[in-house]
């Protein structure tokens, strides 16, 4: 392996690592706010990429039907809760379950966007409400269950979404055109525009997230909810809102990640799962609570993967997923007293 190959691999690792970092961040976010380990994150990645691909082929993306159908169900759920005498924030319900899906549907039907930016915007408009809708239908009814039950529900949901993905998009994959076709050489190292777009967008998103959590009222409220649910509720921050928001961000980040990788690789209905899992490995490196550590972990996973695919391609996945074990071991030896489960 000469220096140039090493650098190329590093480049590849950083590009993939940036995607894993985005996913890891949203996994940490969702977990800390709602205690849900959001396994279906990977499916949202695939949905984002394949929705854009469908739009480019001039097809009506089936994900719109999914959003509409889930919207109807979510309204049904809230109606029943209202009948039971619960306080419902109808503004939020209507936003996620009606306004956004219907406007997406209208846009796709009547305007039929043809430019790439408009299609990207439409894709995000379709995919983002999927997050809060999933939260409302699958998780909110059992929001107080243990982490384990939520995790199992999460895995069941992964199965459902993957099956729907196969039904919607078929078994063959799709690629979307690059956001940038630029290719240039810098310091003897070839760069392509799309990789830079990935790293750039990911960095901007991450900075925005740090800003959001550090500076804005809403972000601070979310963080407060993550620290202490009961306390946050007493302070007037509704848990429901926190769930909606964190899942919307997770869905948005998932869809963006999908859009970013779709020009680099072929995306299949089941591509997302493994990508999501690698995001998990990164999130676990950050102990599911630390954002900076999760980003560092993601880069580590990306780099490890790149070098492993050079040295021992057949065992690449084994190496990446086994990484978790020394990390957990390290955490374990630092813990003297038993940790209490939730």
């Amino acid at each position: 392996m000469d220096a140039q190959i090493a650098l190329l691999l590093a480049q590849d690792g950083i590009v993939n690592g940036a995607i894993y970092a985005l996913l890891a961040l949203s996994l940490v976010l969702v977990f800390s706010v709602t205690r849900v380990i959001f396994v279906p994150q990977g499916e949202l990645v695939a949905f984002g990429a394949l929705t854009l691909a469908a739009l480019q082929l001039g097809k009506f993306p089936p994900t719109i039907w999914l959003a509409l159908a889930m919207g109807v169900l979510a309204i049904g759920v809230d109606l029943r809760r209202a009948l039971n005498g619960d306080q419902i924030s109808w503004r939020n319900t209507l936003l996620w379950s009606t306004l956004l899906p219907i406007s997406a549907c209208a846009w796709a039907t009547f305007a039929r966007p043809t430019s790439l930016p408009a299609q990207v915007a439409l894709t995000l408009l379709i995919c983002t409400p999927l997050g809060p809708l999933l939260w409302r239908l699958a998780f909110r009814p059992i929001a107080d269950a243990s982490v384990l039950v939520l995790l199992i529900v999460s895995v069941a949901l992964h199965g459902v979404l993957m099956g729907l993905g196969l039904w919607f998009f078929g078994a063959e994959g799709s690629r979307t055109p690059a956001f940038s076709d630029a290719r240039f050489t810098f310091a003897d190292l070839p760069f392509n525009g799309q990789s830079l777009v990935v790293v750039g967008v990911a960095s901007v998103l991450m900075l925005l997230m740090f800003f959001f959590f550090g500076r804005t009222m809403l972000g601070k409220a979310l963080r407060a909810t993550a620290m202490n649910r009961t306390g946050a509720r007493l302070m007037g921050i509704p848990t429901g809102l926190a769930g909606d928001l964190s899942f919307a961000m997770a869905a948005l980040i998932g869809a963006v990640s999908g859009l970013l990788i779709a020009p680099l690789t072929t995306v299949y209905y089941d591509t997302g799962f493994l990508i999501g899992l690698k995001g998990f490995v990164a999130a676990i490196l950050g102990a599911l609570v630390s954002y900076p550590l999760a980003v560092a972990g993601a880069l580590l996973v990306g780099l490890l993967e790149a070098y492993a695919s050079f040295w021992a391609s057949a065992f690449k996945e084994v190496i990446v997923f086994t990484l978790i074990i020394p990390v957990l071991w390290w955490r374990s030896v630092r813990t003297h007293h038993v940790e209490e489960d939730e």
Binding site: I5, N16, E172, R175, T266, S309, F310
Partner: protein
């Protein structure tokens, strides 16, 4: 009294006829899971198969094995013991087919696999005498590639294949074929169907400086290494296997897969075949039938293997009907014998000639060489 007796007798007779006269065909394909892109066109193809053979009604029972061995075995057992099928078509992938052999042999039910590996039918022994398969053996395709390579002066080649049964089978066969033609294999790398990047593998292959690179994958995922090779400025020849042969590959591969050379079943370029090509007509039959039902450009060579299984089955069933009633062990035995005796059966992928020692039955007519030019498949010779 007399009337009612007659009625009952007639009813019984009719019941017997309807139970025993129907031919039951059991199908298990991998319509979900990792092999879904192969299994779905196969499943679709079953719908095109004749509902009547030799005047007898044919029932098809189609099950999905989710690309999983245990499910394939359970399906097979269900087909055999619950539905009392006369013949089994399937499964899509090699491991599933291998696992089903024992059941087919034990229940003495003929089975026609649509999976690639020659291990499924070779060597024909007490168990495998019940097993047939339609896709070309990998060695035949591998030899075609090796031949083409040596003809264009390739001395060294590198291999990158799926980390699954398909890639594994190809690696074995291609190493044999390359050895025969004196071509050196200078690098072997593996990747997964859902990998997002193969940069590492490609860099390693390129650093070995091979004259040509063979990609062994099926469907659209096979485009990924080729795109990465282009990206890294590799200028040597790139070969693909017959696993890529569907139009989605062209869609995803775009201009990066231009000039790729691959062996394929004749149906991939059926319309371009010379009028006197022995497979032209039968291949076009299938392509037209499929595209009429599922839309233009939707056909894939995987479905062709299912179609060929149907061709073999039809031939054999009409033979066996002369000897025994469907639903009986005798019929299944006759069906097996008839399958082994199939001669000159034209299918989508070639002309089948079975013998007691060859349960695949395809010969050189079962493959053509194809290249990709201007975003379409182009026939370049046998």
């Amino acid at each position: 009294m007399k009337w009612s007796k007659t009625l009952i007798a007639t009813a019984l007779a009719m019941a017997c006829v309807s139970v025993y006269a129907d031919i039951t065909v059991g199908v298990t394909v991998s319509a979900t899971g990792p092999a879904a892109s192969l299994g779905i066109p196969e499943k679709n193809t079953i719908e095109l198969m004749p509902k009547l053979i030799g005047g007898q009604k044919v029932n098809y029972i189609v099950l999905d094995d989710a690309s999983d061995t245990t499910t394939a075995v359970t399906n097979t057992r269900k087909l055999i013991t619950e539905h009392k099928v006369d013949v089994i078509l399937g499964s899509t992938i090699t491991p599933n087919s291998l696992a089903m052999i024992d059941l087919a042999a034990e229940s003495q039910t003929p089975m026609i696999s649509m999976a690639a590996s020659a291990r499924i039918v070779e060597p024909v022994d007490a168990k495998k005498r019940w097993v047939f398969k339609t896709p070309q053996n990998d060695i035949m395709m591998a030899l075609a590639i090796a031949q083409h390579m040596s003809a264009v002066g390739v001395k060294s080649v590198a291999f990158i294949g799926f980390a699954d049964a398909y890639g594994e089978g190809w690696l074995q066969e291609f190493q044999k074929a390359a050895g025969l033609k004196g071509i050196q294999v200078v690098g072997v790398e593996r990747y997964n169907r859902t990998d997002t990047s193969v940069t590492g593998q490609v860099l390693k292959l390129v650093s070995a400086r091979p004259d040509a690179i063979l990609v062994a994958g099926s469907g659209t995922p096979a485009a990924l290494p080729q795109k990465a090779l282009k990206e890294r400025g590799y200028t040597g020849k790139v070969y693909q296997t017959h696993g890529v042969a569907n139009n989605d590959f062209l869609r995803v591969g775009g201009k990066d897969v231009e000039d790729t050379v691959l062996p394929a079943g004749p149906m991939l370029v059926a319309a371009q075949l010379p009028a006197n090509h022995p497979v032209r007509k039968s291949a076009l039959d299938y392509v037209n039938a499929y595209e009429t039902k599922f839309g233009k450009g939707s056909v894939s060579t995987f479905g062709g293997h299912a179609w060929d299984a149907g061709v073999l089955m039809q031939r054999a069933v009409s033979e066996a009907l002369k000897k025994a009633q469907p639903g009986t062990p005798a019929f299944r035995g006759a069906l097996r014998d008839a399958l082994e005796g199939v001669k000159n059966a034209p299918g989508a992928h070639g002309i089948f000639n079975m013998t007691a020692g060859d349960h695949n039955g395809l010969d050189q007519r079962g493959r053509v060489m194809v290249t990709i030019s201007n975003g379409t498949w182009k026939y370049i010779g046998d």
